[in-house]
Amino acid sequence: MSLTSQNIEYQLRVLDTKSTSFCGAKWYNATIYLGAGKTMSCHHNPWHDIAYTDVEENYKALHNTDIKKQQRQQMLDGIRPSGCSYCWDLEDAGSISDRVYKSQLFSERDLYRAFKSDSSEDFDLQVLELSFDKVCQMACSYCHAGYSTTWAQDIKQHGPYESVETDKKLHYKHERRVEQLFKPDQENPFVEAFYKWWDKDLHKTLKELRILGGEPLLSPHIWKFIEWFKSKDTECSLEFITNLGPRVDVDRFLTAIEGEQIVVMTSMETVAEHAEYIRDGVDYDLWCQNVEKCMASKSIKKVSVLFTVNALSLFRMPELLKQIDEWKAIYGKDSIEVSINILRYPVFQNVTVLPQELRSNLVDGLEPWSDNSQVSRLIDYCRVVDEPDNIEQVRKDFKSFFKQYDQRRNKDLIKTWPEIKSWHDKI
């Protein structure tokens, strides 16, 4: 049976017999932002507030919020929660959605237990992405103040970005201070609730714990957390998503995790001055050194390089893939892997902003890696995907945004990408 057939069979047998909107992630999977007091059941969902008053009475309310309980009941009743539209759109288009892939992370027995549950019941998590705060020393072009204090500083110092019409979510207009509820030295009831929950239940139920930021290795909470995790008896795997950038003390990190088997996930999608332009604050050579330190460490199980493929990263992406191949030859083929995701928002940094012929030509350079399904999917996407209907506005926003980005960050788009000058001048 092909993989597609297996997934369809799973969906029909395991999920749709419960309800056609049932998804195990609503019960067993979560992303929790402790600094913002927000949660979502998977990364496709919009986040919502966790009630700190509820958490003080019941630490499981970190995940088992009133909103998720309402959505669970909707799923049990066969109603599609509106926040899960990413999956419904895929299914309506005849594709297999992420609710199938995500539900497969959990046993059929646990899914049945969720199906038979009362919607008021609290569930313990099995997969958790956890952010302590949004402290970050970098301000990548496609990130925003909701995930980076340096981005917030940009907006505070220079004001909102103007004339970026497709920025409907105000990513480039707002400091988003309200998404950092606590000062760094303040006690945070959400953090306390997480530790209590771990001690009571999560150390037994969690299979994967992924630590996010901001930049998690700059969080004031992080060293205490690592020491605390090491002292616990658990089968849970621990992963860090870190930018391995300046000010990240990689040596201290590697010493702190000695004896563990950690997965390091680190974002990068191109090389050298292209990387340093897009990922403002990164030092590409330092990043390479830090990746090598991680691969050489006995405490690092694997390094996963997260590509957030955007228009500007396409030009020298093959060089990064080549670098990763070289690392595999030195450190072993299982020491490092790639995870390739196509940036969707902001839409003016999506690859479709580029002329179709240009993006098709650029991905020709990725052909040597096309046996990787993620690379081949990217190649197909760049060659066939249509321009958005509002492409003229999207391109105007590209030009307007990067003009302001250059001024604020002392950069030069055209000096860094001279090959787009004639196209850029015509926008």
């Binding site: 919502h48 507030d49 966790i50 700190y52 909103i67 400091e175 988003r176 309200v178």
Partner: protein, 109 residues
């Protein structure tokens, strides 16, 4: 409070409007009512986090001199999501002090 712009934040019901009116009378200010843009004149305004997003609220409160949060029980909020957002917004104001605020408990007055 007479010569100030005062914002009352509560749940999205007529009760919040009534409380705004009551507070304006108590403090001698002009009652203005529901308002979701920047205030132009002194007086007592109100909105809920069902009317504006939290990010918009963060911007709007900078244009006021004083905030009142109406103390309302969770079960009395029609929309739990708005209740949680309001409680966390209060937490933000309490911790970062962008402007002076009070929590107004009608039951105690």
């Amino acid at each position: 409070m007479k010569d100030k712009k005062v914002l009352v934040i509560g749940d999205p019901t007529q009760e919040t409007d009534a409380m705004c009116s009551l507070l304006s009378g108590r403090y001698g200010g002009k009652y203005i009512g529901l308002h979701t843009t920047e205030p132009k004149q002194n007086g007592f305004y109100h909105f809920s986090l069902a009317d504006v997003s939290t990010l918009r609220a963060e911007e709007l409160i900078k244009h006021y001199d004083h905030l009142f949060f109406l103390k309302t029980k969770k079960e009395n909020f029609r929309d739990k999501e708005v209740f949680h957002a309001t409680r966390n917004f209060l937490l933000y104001v309490k911790n970062w002090n962008p402007i002076p605020y009070d929590v107004f408990d009608f039951a105690k007055h």
